[in-house]
């Protein structure tokens, strides 16, 4: 009984590992075709590279779930800049990892294009 289960699991393990390897190489291309064209902006690039793995932000096409969902957060660029620079809770400080210009860019990007016009 156990021997039969073990044999089946051995085959499943090899097949699953092979499938993962194939998906690691085939997956990015498959999804890239479905991705919307990214909007221009240095802030988006900084966000995707450094923040997207933890935060969801639909404008950046990211869906991280470790930190707050930024689609439902309304903060100004200065507040965001402060959080990015100093960190908060479990979020690390990015000061020294990102330049001042990058922190400023990403803060403006996260605040959104309507921030100044809507007076949030």
């Amino acid at each position: 009984m156990l021997r039969g289960v073990d044999r089946v699991l051995a085959i499943v393990s090899v097949a699953a590992a092979a499938a993962v390897v194939i998906m690691l190489f085939a997956g990015p291309q498959v999804v890239a075709e479905d991705k919307p064209a990214p909007s221009a902006g240095a802030g988006q690039a900084v966000f995707t590279e450094n923040c997207g793995s933890c935060h969801t932000l639909s404008r950046a096409g990211t869906s991280g779930q470790v930190g707050p969902d930024l689609d439902s957060v309304s903060l100004g660029p200065e507040e965001i800049q402060e959080i990015v620079s100093g960190g908060t809770g479990s979020m690390p400080s990015f000061e020294g990892k990102l330049s001042d210009a990058e922190i400023s860019d990403v803060a403006k990007f996260v605040a959104g294009p309507d921030y100044s016009s809507s007076g949030r």
């Binding site: 156990l2 021997r3 289960v5 073990d6 699991l9 051995a10 499943v12 393990s13 699953a16 590992a17 993962v20 998906m23 690691l24 997956g27 990015p28 999804v31 890239a32 995707t48 450094n50 997207g52 793995s53 950046a60 096409g61 990211t62 869906s63 991280g64 779930q65 470790v66 809770g89 479990s90 690390p92 990892k97």
Partner: protein, 184 residues
Amino acid sequence: MEATVATRAAPTRLLVAAAAGAAVALALGVYGNVHDPSQELVFTLFFSTTISMKVWFATLSVAFAVVQVATALWMYGTLRVQAPDWTGGLHRISGKLAFLSTLPVAYHCLWSLGFQDTDTRVLVHSTLGCAFYGAFVAKVTIVRSRSLPGWALPVAGGLVFAVLVLAWYTSAVWFIGEQGWPDV
């Protein structure tokens, strides 16, 4: 004569196992570094979120690994109780289930997040994640090799277990500590 050949062959076999493991760990690290992280959620299986899937699968994997280590200790006589016949089967099955449980987690880590070094924890976790599969390959190679020293398999198994537990500690345990157990 045969004993001499076996003695000489053992270090070579151990080196082959270590080299195979190092190659796998390195390959995963390179992949995680060079490919463009998708930041996409691919699947959640039957869980509500990807992070929930990862925390639960990683924890499940450690649970199976504990069973594997316990049955190994039993078979080696460390528990001072005669191991029944089914211990070996349970040992192999729990090991395979532990390995299978890591795959959805590793896939998301590698494909969606890549090798990251945003802080010490993340760097340690990224390194351990790659090292786990290297240690796993080395252990499987040792299991399938003959005439190796008696300490080789327990050391390899212990290494795989230690790396898995540390990788779990720097991810799932950290997440649970920060945000509590995620809903299934």
